[in-house]
Amino acid sequence: MADLEQFQQETRDWLEANCPKTMRKPMRTESDACWGGRNFEFKSDDQRNWLKLMGEKGWTAPEWPKEYGGGGLSREQSKILKKEMARISARPPLQSFGIWMLGPALLKFGSEEQKKEYLPPIVRGEIRWCQGYSEPGAGSDLASLQTRCEDKGDHYLVNGQKVWTSYADKADWIFCLVRTNREARKHLGISFVLFDMASKGVSTKPITLISGKSPFCETFFDDVKVPKENLVGTLDRGWDIAKYLLTHEREMIGGSGGSAFASRGLGEVAVSALGADDDGQLSDTALRAKIATAELDGWAFLLTMERAKDEAKAGHGVGARSSMLKYYGTELNKRRFELMMASKGMSALEWEGEASNEGELPRAWLRTKGNSIEGGTSEVQLNIISKRILGLPDPKVV
């Protein structure tokens, strides 16, 4: 305990001394985020320095081992760091799929050489990664992916197409699921490879969503040469890594499903848009009943998220229940935005102009429609609940 107290004091002092003043206020928009990488344009010297200082200490990835550039902190120390950063509203120095996704996978499945080579630049924010999973023909059924990776003796040759690659147009490297064996049963012929997005034959095309611009891209591979040492784990066994990362991702999404509720309640929004009667009750009574239902569900859902965390702390894993949180949270979020739209009537339809902040609400509403698709559709989550939690049988092959 004394050690931890000392660590806390040292951390507080260090942050006080090193965190630039302009980095001590919450990010207002996505554009304030620092993603690092070869081509990143820092918004300010403070932003650049803050990343540099934190990266050098390994505190962008506090719990990773020091030998790979990480902070080498224990879980308790890491929590203290988080708390101390929150105390002064310090911005995260780096947003990174490398830290969130690839790093944990490499630490678990990578070779010693790979850890040494790839992890330190991730920690320092020098290389920005993107993730190549889905394909036009492989969405919910990811294991049916077809991007080909052929063994050409001294290198692999990759051909195919990925879709829904976030920030592919801005990333330096990609971690990618590819098919290395077309004979094996479909889960068994998949491998996990890394390569430079600047390689010859890689091209990207941004995807516009129904809500407008998006970070998503289509990514094309046309005879891309990949060094053989860029294979992670065992050849044809990349599905294990994929599964590990998918569960990891679902827990992240499920966990954030309720964040929309932190903001103003639906009822308040509706009252300010449509007015209330003398008792303070929303004057549109039919809408009031619907909002009440959504609010009741929202509260019960938030409590369920809280309970899942409490149970995790008490030693029960979240496990397949993350599917429940993902399913319910995203469906609820869609319902909430439908009601938000209803509350604001015609003004909710404004797509351009200052009054609507360039259509912020309708675009956000449309964007929610994707919540129940990305990261595993609602249908996939319901399948997982049915099988893994309820133990319902698969159809018998007759």
Binding site: L209, D284, A342, K369, I373
Partner: protein, 378 residues
């Protein structure tokens, strides 16, 4: 009357189908949207539609119209819904002409022939707030000699940008919320003191806000009786609501058809996804709901033809039910299609946006459910 289409009505539908497929399909709409067109529809195409008789489909024959009836107009709107066709058909040909049925002979002579030929478009300037509620109008019409002086503003006027005339709901008496005391004026868009601005909504169609700053109108510009504007408006609102219900039926039928094709085509886990019972049951449910909507739309058209003034309850039924099911159809469409349905490249999102707007226009589900309940005595 049997709830089936007549042969003539089927013929109108077939000709609309062919015409729209050729001249006003979704890809035409998409091009217009991408070009950022402010009018939101094509004048040349509207003249072509007028030549087919559509602009005068509800107009008496002595003014050049076909007087064909609401069921036929609804069928055209259904096909327009399928194609996301834009035109002033709903605003001017379906709604404004209904108001003009109560106009003076002089007013009719002045406007109807031009409207029927596709030359002139009249928009209805009704609502002032974010929710459809004509009775809450505050725009003032102050008596001025034989005429009136209009002051106030209107919002979200359908096809109100660059219109040739406006039917303006103004208060000659009483206060906001009163059913009585509202009057309807037919005002030339060139009248002094009117300024309009385009409002871009998510469905990329023509909407406008309008300001009326000491706009002077004559007594001859009044439609019907002063203070009875809501009564004069009722047939037009019924027509517009039935029309929107029909348009949404077409749009949702298109969403459904696209979804079913996708379910039969797309494979996952070694199966056509249309073989998954979870998706089958949802599809079958949506099919059932669409059948209910069609019944309500047909009935509403027939009731309107029997009595435009007294078709309000079934018009509300059609508008409410069609909007509810259209939202379901669009939501299911995007979800069943998965990622591809979320891309702007796919048409599903265009339908979702139009449906969202159409279900809000002229009263949303709650508005019409409440009206329906009132009629039913609870």
């Amino acid at each position: 009357m049997a709830l089936v289409y007549t042969e003539e009505q089927e013929m109108v539908r077939d000709s609309a189908k062919g015409f729209l497929a050729e001249k006003a399909s979704v890809s035409v709409f998409r091009k217009m949207r991408d070009a950022g067109d402010t009018l939101g529809w094509s004048r040349a195409l509207w003249v072509e539609m007028a030549e087919m008789g559509w602009a005068g489909i509800l107009v008496e024959e002595q003014y050049g119209g076909l007087d064909f009836g609401m069921t036929g107009a609804a069928l055209i709107l259904e096909e327009m819904g399928k194609n996301l066709t834009t035109s002033p058909f709903l605003s001017s040909a379906v709604m404004a002409t209904q108001v003009l049925r109560g106009a003076s002979e002089a007013q009719k002579q002045a406007w109807l022939p031009k409207m029927v030929s596709g030359e002139a478009v009249i928009a209805l300037a009704l609502d002032e707030g974010v929710k459809h509620d004509p009775a809450s109008s505050q725009l003032q019409a102050e008596k001025l000699g034989n005429g009136y002086r209009l002051n106030g503003s209107k919002a979200y006027i359908i096809d109100g940008f660059d219109a040739d005339g406006y039917l303006v709901l103004a208060r000659t008496d009483g206060e906001a919320g009163d059913q009585d005391g509202l009057s309807l004026f037919l005002v030339d868009a060139k009248a002094k003191g009117i300024s309009t601005s385009s409002t871009k909504l998510l469905d990329s169609r023509n909407y406008a806000g309008a300001k009326f700053d000491n706009v002077e109108v004559s007594g001859g510009d009044l439609i019907g009786e002063a203070g009875k504007g809501l009564d004069a408006l009722e047939p037009a609102l019924n027509a517009g609501r039935i029309g929107l219900a029909a348009e949404m039926l077409g749009a949702s039928a298109q969403c459904f058809e696209t979804s079913m094709e996708y379910l039969k085509d797309r494979s996952q886990f070694g199966q056509k996804i249309g073989s998954f019972q979870g998706l089958q049951h949802r599809s079958a449910h949506l099919y059932s709901e669409l059948e209910l909507v069609r019944s309500a739309v047909i009935k509403a058209g027939q009731d309107f033809e029997a009595s435009a003034e007294h078709s309000g309850m079934i018009a509300s039924l059609a508008k409410a039910k069609s909007g509810e099911v259209a939202i379901l159809a669009a939501n299911e469409g995007v979800q069943l299609l998965g990622g591809i349905g979320m891309t702007d490249e796919h048409d599903m999102g265009l339908y979702m946006k139009r449906i969202r707007a159409a279900q809000e226009l002229l009263g949303d589900y709650a508005f019409h459910a409440g009206r329906f309940a009132k009629w039913r005595g609870f």
